[in-house]
Symmetry: C2
Subunit: 139 residues, 2 copies
């Protein structure tokens, strides 16, 4: 999870949205990613999607775990279900996230760490950049 937090912080330093993700297999990093809406002008590059993009074409995801600093939105949750990723470890779901029931109903294990560091990072960002945040979640 620390690598995902590092990705999120790096994204914020780039002027982007501080959400980071890491895809793991057998305790090893397959790929890291971060939200790149701002950096790449790309609305589909949420942190989870960027990690999956960086992982390239994989034979299977059934033996992977996705770590992400924030509860996935429906785009990312739908991707987790479609890619058959069996487990997601989430930094926090206080500032955003309504996909837990959808994920669990499709058999995905959801572990929420509720890390104060992740909550603080998003709280600061939403306070400083409310317009950008609302764009990212389409509110």
């Amino acid at each position: 999870m620390q690598a995902a937090i590092d990705e999120a912080r790096q994204g914020r330093q780039e002027g982007g949205i501080p959400i980071g993700s890491v895809l793991m297999r057998d305790g090893k990093v397959v790929a890291r990613g971060r939200n790149k809406r701002v950096q790449e002008n790309n609305p589909i590059k949420h942190g989870e999607m960027d990690a999956l993009f960086n992982a390239g074409r994989q034979r299977t995801y059934r033996d992977t775990v996705l770590y992400t600093t924030l509860m996935p939105c429906y785009m990312c949750a739908g991707t987790i279900v479609q890619f058959k990723i069996p487990k997601v470890v989430v930094g926090e779901d206080r500032t955003f996230g309504e996909s837990r029931e959808f994920l669990e109903s499709h058999g995905v294990e959801v572990v929420i760490l509720d890390l104060p560091e992740c909550v603080q990072m998003m709280t600061d960002f939403i306070r400083d950049e409310p317009t950008l945040w609302n764009e990212d979640i389409m509110e």
Copy 2:
């Protein structure tokens, strides 16, 4: 829908997966896209995702309609829900697609045209490239 079919056929000619999508607003094309798993070595570039990528950052999607040759997978369906696209027009859902209930439960209008041309395109592709197709739907 013809533009989406054209995208799908172009994708197949490129050696890719024949699924195309077009985002429309007020009867005008915002962006076109096609599945680019093969062409860009990119597992998140389904046809719908490519169209949304090509559309760039939009202020809102509430006034758009997404046309796509095949029933969206959960990645694309989750994206439609998250982006608040109110209506999806689908070429066919015979060869693939289980997301209709999810989409409709989130208020998305789903129109299925059941076009023989779209069914034939996917039937031919799945017959010719079963391994590639199974990779794309993570089976």
